[in-house]
Every structure is written in structure tokens, then in C-alpha cells.
Symmetry: C2
Subunit: 311 residues, 2 copies
């Protein structure tokens, strides 16, 4: 069994490579829910859905999230009511949120609903939210405002300086059912190439999860989402610098070193292998920019081999 801590687009691409190399039924994904939002009264789980849609082969290939070929009739029509529609939910995507919201309203847990959604899409992986509790990533901006993740990421297009990040209510959250067992028994735990501060850190912040991962450190492989100092997608590079870290594979090694014994870094960063090593993290250099499914599959193979789980 392989457990993967996952954010959104980068994690989803890695996972689609992984399920080309091992059976989906061997994979347990522990997804970030700190980015969840209630939009137009609907409970939206961007990271979980990005994983589901990507593995189902249904994701919008241009954005990396949402559904391919979706329409936006509902959002267009909502404009009439003067409500904020900067978060564009596609019409077919809305079905997922309608279903989830209705089931949560009927008393189902997020774990249960997520399993139902994954099954409805015909996937074999286990997709677990990090918690069934209500954890929200909050960002304090340099201008003094405090905003939710989606407000920062989508509405403000992460074009504002961040002063600090808070994983609100993480302290009292419990890991979702199955999370701790998956981490305890996994032969390999992967920290997917996701934003370390906004995607991986909220998962690790849930009491029990960070400790469980650290306890298995010799079986934990992180994949750097920073290549040549830049994030492939999103604001990870800028955020790392704003919050006093280094925007490089070495900076990632420093942040994730307490949890991972191995860091996979891109060939472009081969020169940082020594610095990573000096931090007590074993570097593995390979191509990490998943331009094609073949690259993602090879990255999965290298990751599996890192702790002796070659296929």
C-alpha cells in the first residue's frame, strides 16, 4: 500500500502517473481540505475534486481543475443576482457540489461522501479527506486583511503579499477515518509535488497526521514542487520567500525534512543535491516536470524505487 499526501493539480498529475504503475486499489490518497469553501451555499472541495477528475480522465486539461468541456450557464446567470462569481463553477462540476452538499446536509461525513463520489467516477483508489472536521487555511495579507484560501488564490489571483498562514481549527481536528491506519501501514508515503505551505502543511497540521508521517520518515519520499527556484503552478515560490523560506528544492528539503527522508528534485536542480543532502535528506534527481503521462509514470517509478519498492 502506498499513501500519498496530496494537494491539487501537481498531486493529481503525479497520481495519474502512479496509477499507471501500480494498481489504484493499492493507493490511498490523503487530500488537503484546507482549501475547501462554501460557494453559493455549496460545499466545494477543490483539491479532492481535482484528484478525482484527473484520475477519471475528465479534468479540464487547460486549467488542470474543473471538468473538460464544461459550460458555465449557472455562473453566468448568477451574475444577475449581484453575488460574487469569481469562483467559476462549471455546470457539470456543480453536480458534484450539489451531491456533496445534500449528502453532508443529510448527515453524511465528508469521508463518506468523498468515497461515494470516487466510486461514482469508477475509481479504485481510496481518496480520504485529511479530516472530516472543518479546517480552513486562512492567510493574513501584508495589507492587514485576513482571507480564506480561495479568496487569496482565485479572487486575488495570489497577487498580494502574505504575512502569515493559519490552518484555522486544525488544532482541534481529527484525522478522517482510515488516515492514521494508512500512514501506519504504508510501504511508501509520498508527499506529492504540491505547495508545501498551502497543500502539504495543512494536512500535516491535523493532530496525529504530522506525527504519523514523521514516525515513518524512512519510508517518506517528498517530491519538490519547486523547479529552478520557481513553482510550476501557483504561488509556492513567492509564498516561500514571503514567509522566510528559500524558494528552491533545498528550501523544500528544509521544510519537509522532519517528515521525509528522501526528496525527489528536478534535473534542473541537480546542483542542489549536495545542499539537500547536507540537510539530512537523501536527494534523488530526475525529471519532475510532468508534461506528459510518460514523465508522470517515470516519476512515480523513481519515487517507488526510492524506498526499495521498484516495479
Amino acid at each position: 500500500m502506498i499513501a500519498v499526501l496530496a494537494g491539487g493539480v501537481g498531486a493529481a498529475r503525479f497520481l495519474s502517473g502512479l496509477v499507471g504503475v501500480v494498481a489504484g486499489s493499492e493507493v490511498t490518497v490523503i487530500g488537503n481540505t484546507g482549501d475547501d469553501a462554501v460557494l453559493h451555499g455549496l460545499h466545494v472541495c477543490p483539491d479532492l475534486d481535482t484528484v478525482t477528475y484527473t484520475l477519471a480522465g475528465a479534468v479540464n486539461p487547460e486549467t488542470g481543475w474543473g471538468l473538460a468541456g464544461d459550460s458555465f450557464g449557472a455562473m453566468d446567470a448568477l451574475d444577475r443576482f449581484g453575488v460574487a462569481t469569481w469562483f467559476r463553477l462549471g455546470d457539470r462540476d456543480l453536480a458534484t457540489h450539489l451531491y456533496r452538499t445534500q449528502r453532508l446536509g443529510a448527515g453524511a461525513t465528508l469521508s463518506e461522501v468523498t468515497a461515494e463520489i470516487v466510486a461514482a467516477w469508477g475509481l479504485k483508489i481510496a481518496l480520504l479527506p485529511m479530516t472530516d472536521d472543518d479546517v480552513r487555511t486562512r492567510l493574513r495579507l501584508a495589507d492587514g486583511r485576513e482571507v480564506d484560501f480561495q479568496e487569496y488564490f482565485v479572487h486575488l489571483r495570489h497577487g498580494v503579499a502574505v504575512e502569515s498562514i493559519d490552518y484555522a481549527r486544525a488544532g482541534s481536528a481529527r484525522p478522517a477515518p482510515g488516515v492514521e491506519a494508512a500512514l501506519a501501514s504504508a510501504e511508501l508515503i509520498v508527499l506529492a509535488p504540491s505547495n508545501p505551505l498551502l497543500s502539504i502543511a495543512p494536512i500535516l497540521a491535523v493532530p496525529g497526521i504530522g506525527e504519523a508521517v514523521a514516525r515513518r520518515r524512512d519510508r517518506v519520499v517528498a517530491i519538490s514542487p519547486i523547479v529552478a527556484g520557481r513553482a510550476l503552478k501557483g504561488p509556492a515560490d513567492q509564498l516561500l520567500v514571503e514567509l522566510g523560506h528559500e524558494s528552491s528544492a533545498a528550501g523544500v528539503a528544509r521544510l519537509l525534512g522532519p517528515y521525509a527522508s528522501v526528496l525527489v528534485l528536478d534535473t534542473a536542480d541537480a546542483g542542489l543535491a549536495g545542499a539537500v543532502s547536507a540537510l539530512g535528506v537523501r536527494p534523488i534527481v530526475t525529471d519532475t516536470v510532468m508534461r506528459t503521462p510518460g514523465v508522470a509514470a517515470e516519476l512515480a517509478r523513481v519515487t517507488l524505487a526510492a524506498v526499495g519498492k521498484a516495479r
Copy 2:
């Protein structure tokens, strides 16, 4: 001021004729909410929305409800989750229900939200739900089942025999703000050509409304939805017979006579004028089949003239 008790399609067509003859700001519509349903977690008000969409010129002309040119991506995608999707909500239509549901969830009353929706569509009429309370038209079927209106009307396509109708919780409902004042001050009250048992009766069943209408009986004009013994749309004819009434303009006069002093009936039913008269209801014979906007406007003119309010 003119008050109109309204169901769905027939009422909406009459109202579009009416607002061609008098200013919309002179019209208060009291809409049936017994047909309201919670579908996919969304609060749907079919009759109120049919009135709004029709007066906005946005209604689907083929069905008489829903929005013209709407798409059904969300409903198609919901099929994946195995939930009942027999009530087809269009994607643009969904925006109305999302907005309403979110506002109700935030503590707004149905009256408030309805006024907001009507304003968002640029309409000048006042559209009042009959009540802000939760009244539901329930039907006991001949096979013993008891179902909600939409289950009967849409899912079962009103193709089953009905034994009795109950306006659940009507007894403890209060008229929405403005309803009683509108009825007390109106120069003319119209019972629109809607199903007398499923659209008009639930409104009259709200304590205070039936009494207020009956008190103004000399100013109340009903329009028969039955022409030549048949309902123009829906199951009114079949229901009238199943529940022991007569499926004719005379049967409508008998049902609505306690509330209306005048019944407008179709030229096809001119032969029933005497029977209507004998029931103490003054018959007015004109063309009531609103095939064109011109017919609807003329029907409105005749209705206005019926109580001396000619234009």
C-alpha cells in the same frame, strides 16, 4: 391596484397579458407555494419562477416553465450519482435556486428573496409568495401512496388516480407580509386560470387569505382553466372528476363561487353560462385560450372590465 392569485403557466400567461394593459407596478401577484420542493438540496419555487420568467420574457416557450435556451449539464452530471433527476433543472435556472437557497439559509424570508429575484429580473410587479411558511400540497393516490406535488406532477406525470389532496401545514401558516393588505385594498382580485385544486385552493387554504378573498367577493373575478371540459395544461380535468367535482366551467363556478362573483369562461363554453349563473356567479364569455399575447391582453381587458375597471 390589482391582486392576482396565481399558479404556474396559465397564470403567468394571463399576467403577461395584464401587464400589457396596466402598469406592472399596479399588480400584486400572490403565488402558490404549495408546489415548492427541495431538489438536490435546493429550494425550488416552480410557480413563482414561472411567473417571473414569463414576465421577464425569458421563459422556455415550449414548456411554459424553465428558461429559454437553457442547458442541462448539471442534471446530466448528477445522473452519475444515482440520485433522482426526473425534475430537470436547467443550468441557468439553477442560479435562481442557488441564490434562493443561500439567502434562505442566511435567514432571509421567502418573501424577501422573491422580491430580490423579481428585482434582479427588472420586473415592476410585486410577487408575493402566499406564505413564508412551509406549506406542501400532498396527494394521496388511489394505490395508497402519499406523494408531494412534484412527485405526482413531474415524476408520475399525473398519470395516476388521486384520492385526496392535503395542503400540509396550511392550517398553521400565516399569509406572507403584504398579502392581506393587497387583498383588502385591491380594486380587482383575479383568480387566474390555474388548477383550482392544486394552485388556487392551496392559496385560499392559508388562514386569512380565503377569508380576505371571500370578503371582497364582489370584486373577485375567476377565470376558468377548464375549456370544453378539458384542462388546457396539466391534470385539472382528471383531478376534478377524481375528487367528485365536475370538469367544466360550471364545476369551476361551483368550487370558486364562494370566493368569486364573476367567472370568465371560454366561448366554447357559452352554453354553460346559464348553469354558472344559476350558481350565483355572473358568467362572462370570451376567448380564454391564450395562444397569442393579443388574446392574453384581451382576456385581461375583459377581466378588468368585469368589475368596472375598464381601460
